[in-house]
């Protein structure tokens, strides 16, 4: 919601700057951004009472002297004879109507009305609608204006299941479906209650006789409708957050006053229907309770003073909650009012005495399996549970984000297969992944939960001279668990590559087990790896292709080997992403060591070129050639 700073400050005696107003609003819990003269308010959903100029001024009264300057029509009003029936009194317990005729439509607006449209950059519509919109901005109460000359039958308000096309005054046609609260005339919907009026009875630039509707709708009747029908509606935003049911008389009289400042009113009459009065809320004055809740020490006088500033009336040790404060009904609610006024940051800390809890179960079989896998080069992944696969026991999501993924996964392994293919497409030659997660299924009308561990692996066993030549297979994975959990069957299997969208041919092995069905036998394994104590800064990932080069050396002078390894493994270049020894062989007969290094290149900014790679490789070769007793076979 946008509110003009100049509109606020014009009613504040102290004339605070926009920064001061901003700070005050912030302390009161009203988040906003400043855009020139405009405060873009983001109010919490419980503070519907602040969705207006006057609403914010009421809260700012805590810090400033606010003079509400608006004038209202104060004379007695004739009773309107209106053919109206409310068949939905539960959703609309109070509704008022004003009928008014003016002599001519004003060509110019008074400064404050013009100022409203200009400062908030709003388009004008027609006179009565413009007054209605301004009034909603000023008071927070939406009103709807019908062109009275177009009302040619009984006006009925009802809440019904309906399937009917409705042409809105925004010139948009929508099809009403399911249950809606609406006004109709002769079975035609003329107003979607609290959301948007209809075109057939809308005011136009020629309207001189208006029927103004001022209603209180229960938020339940309105909520979700504007979103459902894709209608931007300031009115529904306010009704959803509760409007003041006691404001009708004031709002109607203010409407009359604004009109009278622009035109001569030839005739007007008013009627208000109240079917069920909202119970006034009264809370006992109990400053001790407030002090206990907040951990502060204020006097009753201070407390009463704070609440009075916010419009609460205190009589006979009872706090009368204003009708516009639908969010206040308990001592805790009142304590928040006090905290807002004092300022949350001004409340001192008090030491919290602790109830001693139990320690976490870090020795759980789940954690032991997790660290066993990490020690063997596996990475933990977390996948979304939404799946395009439908099994007989899949749980269906009623409102999926993506209609192609409208089921909950019943296994983890299929997600891991997708992760594997993703990494293969990123030129990874050793992929070892696992996931531990709950999975759910739906059987016999019951939801069942399992705690699963899934593992997938493919490619090389590792990036060192022993593991590089070995390929991951069923035996590799079986051996991983054979010693530490000999009694458990992990049911390791080979997976089909069909449908994986990957050109790699390596065997894929994996398994999925229900951890909770594991025996209680403690996993006989002491982890080597622990997660780091600090949190590493993230480096941007390159999505560009990588390139690899191998360099093999012959070493006759063994004392030079350490120099060679130290030089290459310590070699830094921004294009080298990874380097490791992939081959080692000591030939006793020829008294020679053969050692191979692999370099993986990738650029963060552009696709790496042959020249770039060659330049780095030549630099390495140039330096290694100088190491005594080390040669590169095949290089002259």
């Amino acid at each position: 919601m946008k509110i003009s700073y100049s509109h606020l400050v014009s009613q504040i005696k102290e004339n605070p700057s926009i920064e001061m107003i901003s700070e005050s609003l912030f302390q009161l819990g009203h988040e906003h951004e400043i855009d020139g003269d405009i405060l873009n308010m983001e109010l919490t959903p419980n503070r519907g009472d602040c969705l207006s100029l006057n609403g914010l001024l009421r809260d700012l009264s805590v810090f400033y002297t606010v003079n509400f300057k608006e004038k209202i029509y104060s004379e007695k009003l004739d009773k309107l004879q209106l053919d109206f029936e409310n068949l939905s009194q539960n959703t609309c317990p109070k509704i008022s109507f004003l009928k008014m005729e003016i002599d001519k439509i004003p060509k110019e607006y008074n400064q404050y009305l013009n100022d409203y449209f200009m400062k908030l950059n709003l388009n004008k519509n027609n006179f009565f609608t413009d007054v209605s919109n301004y009034l909603s901005y000023e008071t927070g109460q939406p009103t709807h204006c019908y062109d009275a000359s177009k009302i040619n039958g009984k006006l009925i308000l009802q809440e019904l299941e309906i399937n009917q096309e409705f042409h809105t005054l925004l010139d948009k046609k929508i099809t009403l479906s399911d249950k809606n609260s609406f006004f109709s005339i002769n079975d035609e919907v003329v107003n979607l209650a609290g959301v948007v009026g209809g075109k057939s009875t809308a005011c136009t630039s020629g309207t001189k006789t208006v029927l103004v509707e001022c209603a209180f709708f229960e938020p339940e009747a309105i909520i979700g409708k504007s979103l459902k029908y894709d209608i931007q509606s300031e009115a529904s935003h306010k009704f959803e957050r509760f409007v003041d049911p006691e404001s009708h008389d004031y709002v109607i009289r203010r409407f009359i006053n604004i009109v009278s400042e622009h035109a001569n009113i030839k005739d007007m009459s008013f009627i208000s229907y109240e079917y069920k009065k909202k119970q006034a809320i009264k809370i006992p004055v109990n400053v001790d309770k407030i002090n206990q809740i907040l951990g502060i020490d204020i006097t009753e006088d201070q407390y009463v003073n704070y609440l009075s500033k916010l419009g609460f009336i205190i009589n006979d040790d009872l706090i009368n909650v204003p009708s516009y404060r639908s969010d206040i009904s308990s001592q805790n609610d009142l304590s928040e009012e006090v905290a807002r006024i004092i300022g949350y940051d001004n409340i001192s800390k008090h030491k919290l005495p602790f109830v001693k809890g139990k320690t976490s179960n870090t020795d759980s079989i789940e954690n032991k399996l997790r660290f066993l896998l990490i020690d063997h080069g596996f990475y933990e992944v977390i996948n979304f549970p939404f799946s395009n696969e439908k099994y007989i026991d899949s749980i269906k999501i009623d409102n999926p984000l993506d209609s192609n993924k409208e089921h909950m996964r019943t296994n983890l392994i299929n997600s891991l297969l997708e992760n594997l293919a993703f990494n293969e497409r990123r030129q990874k030659d050793s992929i070892k992944l696992f996931e531990i997660s709950d999975v759910y299924n739906f059987k016999n009308n019951k939801i069942k939960k399992k705690r699963n561990l899934a593992i997938i692996a493919s490619g090389r066993v590792g990036h060192n001279h022993i593991d590089f030549q070995k390929k991951i297979n069923k035996k590799y994975l079986t051996n991983l668990f054979k010693d530490v959990l000999p009694s458990e069957d992990f049911a390791i299997k080979i997976f089909n590559r069909e449908g994986l969208n990957s050109k790699i041919k390596n065997e894929i092995v994996g398994c999925e087990i229900d951890i909770e069905n594991f025996s209680t036998e403690v996993l006989n394994y002491k982890e080597e790896t622990r997660p780091p104590n600090s949190f590493k800064k993230f480096s941007q990932i390159s999505d560009l292709p990588s390139s690899s080069r191998d360099l093999s050396f012959s070493i006759k002078d063994f004392s030079s080997r350490q120099n060679l390894e130290k030089y290459i493994l310590g070699y830094e270049n921004e294009l080298i992403k990874e380097k490791f020894i992939f081959d080692y062989f000591y030939n006793e007969n020829s008294a020679e060591i053969k050692i191979g290094f692999r370099f993986i290149f990738q650029s963060a900014n552009s696709t790496i070129t042959e020249t770039q790679v060659n330049n780095v490789m030549n630099d390495i070769i140039r330096h290694t050639e100088k190491i005594k007793g080390v040669t590169i076979p095949g290089l002259n």
């Binding site: 907040l294 008090h350 030491k351 602790f354 809890g357 990123r426 949190f535 080692y584």
Partner: protein
């Protein structure tokens, strides 16, 4: 002069994997809270409206209950929990005060952009005892934030709204760039919630807090796109050894 060790094969540098950074962050925070005295409890990700909303004083009109914010399943018979708070409800129904629980795990909301995902992780804590106050809640929050971001970090409390806490607050920290960044929500447990869990709100009061793990992890790892966590990209996961 060469020695025998010069011909020994190179030391095998075994490739180690890594815990997912979100689980690492979750475990770190949980361990911290356990060290403060909280007990870990768990609950299901598939919940009922009663536990996810009603018991927490989230009224039928609250926007969070709409189909555009919450994933409902099997003809609205259940839903994917939108927060870990229902676990606290289950905990309070099982045990009597004084109590101090934390729970962490996946939660689901119908969002998908660079800063929001349909699935993310939360940790929530609740402490119920006699005479628990907002001033004590502040003490706890200061301890948590200082443990996570260092003693020098500046933080501020501002009023907010959660149906299950009253008063409610959001807590921001001041970044090195001078911007306030929201990191957690907290408040005193709404007495209605205590009564819903058969706890005498005249005798007991409680404090509660909740934080999004991804948000803390993004701050700690200096990331700006939450989606990186869930691509299962080895180039990403390999950074968190």
């Amino acid at each position: 002069m060469s020695s025998n060790k010069d011909i020994l094969p190179p030391k095998i540098i075994k490739d180690k994997g890594a815990v997912h950074p979100i689980n690492h962050m979750k475990d770190s925070i949980m361990n911290l809270l356990v060290s403060f005295g909280f007990e870990i409890i768990d609950g299901p990700e598939i919940e009922t409206e009663e536990f996810n909303f009603d018991m927490l004083n989230i009224k039928k009109t609250h926007p969070a209950r709409q189909m555009h914010d919450t994933f409902y399943i099997e003809n609205k018979s259940n839903l994917l929990r939108t927060h870990t708070s229902p676990v606290q409800i289950r905990g309070m129904l099982e045990k009597s005060p004084p109590l101090a629980f934390i729970s962490g795990g996946k939660v689901y909301r119908k969002d998908d952009d660079a800063t929001h995902l349909p699935m993310f992780h939360q940790i929530e804590g609740i402490l119920v005892d006699e005479n628990v106050s907002f001033a004590q809640l502040k003490d706890l929050i200061y301890k948590i934030v200082h443990s996570l971001f260092g003693e020098d970090i500046k933080l501020r409390f501002r009023p907010s709204y959660f149906p299950f806490t009253e008063p409610s607050a959001e807590v921001d920290i001041l970044s090195t760039e001078g911007k306030w960044i929201e990191i957690l929500g907290c408040g005193l447990v709404n007495p209605i919630v205590l009564e819903n869990c058969n706890i005498d709100s005249n005798k007991f009061s409680g404090l509660a807090f909740g934080l999004g793990i991804e948000r803390i992890a993004m701050l700690q790892h200096n990331m700006n796109d939450i989606r990186e966590f869930y691509k299962s990209n080895l180039d990403f996961l390999g950074q968190f050894k």
